[in-house]
């Protein structure tokens, strides 16, 4: 059962809050200044990124295997 991180690029403003608070340091900004995940597998689903994103641009969820 892995973790799925959803980012909504059209909402992300590249503020870096999620990256700064991510304990695993697996979030970063691309050239257009949007968030991307460097290593989804390392995610521990702590929810910090989602909790702190002011733009509702990142969501973390346990992947439910179907």
């Amino acid at each position: 059962m892995g973790i799925e991180i959803t980012t909504l690029k059209e909402r992300c403003k590249g503020c870096n809050i999620c990256a700064a608070f991510c304990p695993k340091k697996i979030l970063a900004m691309d050239t257009l200044g949007k968030v991307y995940v460097t290593d989804e597998k390392a995610c521990i689903n702590c929810g910090q990124c989602e909790l702190r994103c002011p733009d509702y641009a990142i969501y973390v969820e346990k992947k439910v295997e179907k």
Binding site: A19, A20, F21, R52, P54, Y56
Partner: protein, 271 residues
């Protein structure tokens, strides 16, 4: 995507706030509080003033009213009195609420009318580009305080208390989860409630005052906000920049629209 998002007008997002602005975090707390309370969207009205924070009303999925600078509380008072069954929530900024709107703020509190005021306190006039507000701490720079503010800041919670509010709480954008509860309790209180939400304006405040980026400002909150009980135990010299959070004050007092309902009853011959 999340259940509380039904309280947003999803088609209006993304919002207009700057990268890193804390307003989005506080607004989410309001939505979550609404969900926690199961607020009826048809019977809740959000009223805001003018300012960055006050744009929040446009993103919330209720009847919403974006008034004039400083005037949210008297508009909200009219709505509440016109239809007392409505829950009325006021979204306001530090300038909107305590500068131009200061009088309405204390009079709303005095009447103890059932409104919940969520004060987005970013210590600055964000919308107009960084002028000092009555909540800008002394010494901080602003475009209208280039030498550092000489004014002393209000403590809006103390002010609300002295004026007559019956529920007063303070939270921060960093303490996003407890903020939800503080707001929910404020909405539940049958009377005038103030929830001061400390939030970051990296663009018009943080940058000018070398407070780091948005994340840095959030960290500052995490370091300086202290739960009330712990805060009260601090020695004066330990206090420094620290400030108390949590429910700061609560009382039971007659609520205005209920009191007025009695007048109507009396006038109509009831007792």
């Amino acid at each position: 995507m999340r259940s509380y998002e039904k309280y947003f007008r999803m088609n209006r997002l993304p919002h207009i706030w700057c990268p890193g602005c804390g307003n989005g975090i506080v607004m989410k707390s309001i939505a979550k509080a609404a969900e926690q309370l199961g607020l009826d969207q048809d019977n809740t009205v959000i009223v805001s003033g003018i300012g960055c924070s006050s744009r929040a009303s446009g993103y919330m999925n209720f009847d919403t009213l974006h008034t004039a600078h400083g005037r949210a509380i008297p508009f909200a008072t009219g709505i509440k009195l016109a239809n007392p069954k409505l829950k009325v929530i006021v979204i306001t900024g530090d300038g909107d609420c305590t500068a131009i709107g200061g009088n309405h703020f204390i009079h709303g509190a005095r009447r103890n009318i059932d409104l919940t005021v969520i004060l987005f306190n970013n210590n600055i006039y964000g919308m107009t580009g960084g002028q000092a507000s009555p909540l800008t701490p002394t010494g901080k720079k602003a475009t209208t305080a280039p030498f550092g503010s000489v004014d002393t800041a209000f403590d809006p919670c103390e002010l609300a208390k002295a004026a007559g509010a019956s529920y007063i709480a303070r939270g921060t954008a960093f303490h996003a989860k407890p903020l939800v509860d503080l707001i929910a309790q404020g909405i539940s209180n049958n009377g005038f409630s103030l929830v001061e939400a400390i939030t970051q304006c990296p663009i018009s405040y943080g940058r000018r005052n070398k407070m780091g980026d948005a994340a840095g400002m959030l960290k500052w909150m995490s370091e300086n906000a202290v739960p009330l009980a712990a805060y009260e135990k601090l020695a004066e010299e330990q206090k420094g920049d620290k400030f108390p959070i949590g429910v700061l004050y609560q009382k039971t007092a007659p609520e205005y629209s209920a009191e007025y309902a009695k007048v109507i009853k009396l006038a109509q011959g009831g007792k």
